[in-house]
Amino acid sequence: MNPGFLLAYLIDGLLIGFVYGIAAMGLTLIWGVMNVINLAHGPIIALGMFGVYLLYTGAHINPYLALLIVAAVGLGGGFMIYWIAIHRVINAPHLSTLLATFAVNMIIIGLGTAAFSTSPYTMDFSLGSLTLGVVTIQGTRIVAALAAILVTGGLYLFLYRTATGKYVRAVANNRAAAELMGIPSARILALSFGLGTLLAMVSGGLIATFFPFTILSGGAYELKSFVIGVLGGLGNPLGALAGGLILGLFEGIIPAFVPNTWVPVFEFLLFVLILLVRPTGLFGAKR
């Protein structure tokens, strides 16, 4: 094979991997800190897509500026979902929180289908593209990758360099002990859910700048986020980013050698393998 083509497969895979990583970060943060599997993750990603789309087409706000607004809405929306749907069942068995977030998932999809139908939306936005030989890279994807690095760095600094971040990690580690130390665990849980929602919305907003999307589009990223969460470990932003990159590489490279439909087979094989061999994930914290 011409090495240029291999490079094209590689770069495409890596660039999409950054976006997978940031999409998964929201899920793994909530999962890791709260022990809640957020089944509304996909529709929230889709809301991020629509948020940026509506601000761009309706109010002509630059998509990256719109991303900041969407992030703020995501944080607030996350608080709201936490206090309404999750707070009361947070100590109940897994199935309760699972069903609570599944209900949120159905509500968002139902309202979204009513408002936007399931037809695809496309943002007519471009930052041009860069062509080197057979490799063509869109500007929007490069920016998305940079944004993913920025967000990961920010989240990492927040978790490991601030007092509130320390509280979050403490609650993740042992909620009862954290409460005994005077950490307001309910507020920390709400913050974690808010941050998770923010990350999901931001990833959706970034995806909307280069892929067409529908209200159902988040589902695919949610599924990938599960794989990435298991791959990278829970609650660790670097793990999620690394997991995303690995998955992106898989998707980029595998089709070069076998028919494209084999990709999920390899992805979920990896998922099962990691669950069996290293259930805390490649970069997971000791629990």
Partner: protein, 444 residues
């Protein structure tokens, strides 16, 4: 250990829920708004006196939710327009003098094959549907056809093009659309006429029943015409990132690309092909291009060719029918378009909408010819049908191995070209007799 066990269980439940998409709740049937049930006269009229009336129930499911919701709702709109028109015109008078009007019963099938079979059984057994219309899409229609045949109800399939359904020995299922096997073959003809030097073709298609059927037939036809298939690749229906596939196409270096699937993946593929500046002379995709909203892609839409079951510009006329020696039936294209726009807030009908309407029109013609609602009589009328409508010619195969397969109807091919204002405009480029503009070639 216990913790891991419960986490694993939770993960598995979570995955199952995500994969299942959504749970289903029992539903009440949606009754068509066209006709109040006040006219429900002696339904089981054994010796109907002249002047008796009867309401005929048309049963169908629509994908009000799920990924097929746009096309499916347009199809329902078309069908409901026909119901409204026929009822306003006083219904159909049968040979025994009974006047029949129509009403519908429908459910939301959630774009889900499993739901379809359950719901069609309910339409037949509980709602007593007299005739059935298929759901949108080949997969769902195929699932519903089994039920229709099993319970001995006549079904007109529309929005469904797969050939397979009609090779299973069914006797009561009739197809309104041009079958998949003839969906993209015209694009090969158009390409051959335009540039006989092109030899290398790539086929990239969605991995569902319909698109795979089309691609298989396309491949056979193209190879018979002397083309070399340099890539034949399927993709999952939910694909959003076509990067790896486009890289494969780039590597195989074809001159033309044909394939696609449905609306979402088709628009995404077209957009990413343009962004990656794939050097193609000819690009033809299924389903997506004829949709009016394909124009939202802007420059990425330019040059893309798509087969369409029907277009508003399509000029099927009484004169054309006469030239073929076929009888004309139903409204003209212009009449259909204006009635549809009046009924649905000015929305231009897509071929899905026309497909919904034509299913009703076929049923109307068959009942009129039969002069009765008896299944055998209506079936005989359908078997003999050969009419020209605004949708095109309608004629069914009566051969045992392909009973009900559409034989009369032909596709038209559209291409998006830059209009006077630079915005993409839809033009009919093939066949030559329906052409509104020359084929734009090469694309880029």
């Amino acid at each position: 250990m216990k913790h891991h066990g419960s986490l694993m269980t939770a993960i598995l439940i979570a995955l199952a829920l995500v994969l299942a998409g959504c749970g289903s709740a029992p539903q009440a049937p949606t009754s068509g708004g066209a006709e109040s049930s006040a006219t429900t006269a002696p339904a089981a009229a054994t010796t109907a006196p002249t002047g008796a009336t009867k309401t005929v129930i048309i049963g169908y499911t629509a994908s009000n939710t799920g990924k097929l919701n746009v096309e499916s709702n347009r199809q329902s709109n078309g069908l409901n327009l026909w119901i409204k028109q026929i009822n306003e015109a006083g219904g159909i008078t049968l040979s025994d003098g009974t006047v029949i009007t129509f009403d519908t019963r429908s459910y939301d099938d959630e774009s889900n094959k499993d739901r379809v079979q359950e719901l069609y059984s309910r339409l037949i057994n509980e709602d007593n549907a007299d005739f059935l219309i298929s759901p949108y899409s080949s997969g769902l229609a195929d699932a519903s056809a089994v039920i229709a045949e099993q319970y001995g109800r006549i079904m007109i399939t529309t929005g469904a093009a797969s050939d397979d359904t009609y090779t299973k020995g069914y006797t009561l299922v009739y197809q309104a659309y041009t079958p998949a096997s003839r969906y993209l073959t015209g694009a090969i003809d158009a390409l051959k006429q335009q540039d006989p030097n092109v030899k290398k073709i790539a086929i990239v298609h969605e991995n569902d029943k319909f698109s795979s059927d089309v691609s298989k037939a396309l491949r056979a036809y193209a190879e018979a015409q002397g083309y070399e298939i340099v890539l034949d690749e399927g993709y999952d229906s939910n694909t959003t990132d076509f990067g790896p596939i486009i890289n494969k196409v780039l590597q195989a270096a074809p001159e033309a690309l044909l394939g696609g699937g449905h609306f979402q993946d088709g628009t995404t593929l077209a957009k990413q092909i343009a962004e990656k500046q794939l050097p193609l002379k000819f690009l033809a995709l299924l389903v997506a291009p004829p949709e009016p909203s394909f124009a939202d892609l802007g420059d990425a839409a330019l040059g893309v060719v798509g087969p369409s079951q029907w277009e508003t510009q399509a000029a099927f006329s009484e004169d054309a029918a006469k030239a073929l020696g076929v009888e004309w039936f139903g409204p003209t294209g212009a009449e259909f378009v204006s009635a549809y726009q009046a009924a649905y807030g000015g929305e231009e009908p897509s071929y899905h909408a026309a497909g919904g309407y034509i299913a009703g029109l076929i049923l109307q013609r068959a009942i009129e010819q039969a002069g009765s609602l008896d299944t055998e009589a209506v079936k005989a009328a359908l078997d003999q049908m050969d009419v020209m409508t605004f949708f095109g010619r309608i004629k069914f195969s009566t051969a045992a191995e392909s009973h009900g397969l559409q034989e009369g109807h032909e596709m038209v091919y559209i291409q998006w070209q830059a209009g006077a204002d630079g915005k993409p405009e839809k033009q009919v480029v093939w066949p030559n007799e329906a052409q509104t503009a020359e084929l734009l070639y090469p694309v880029r």
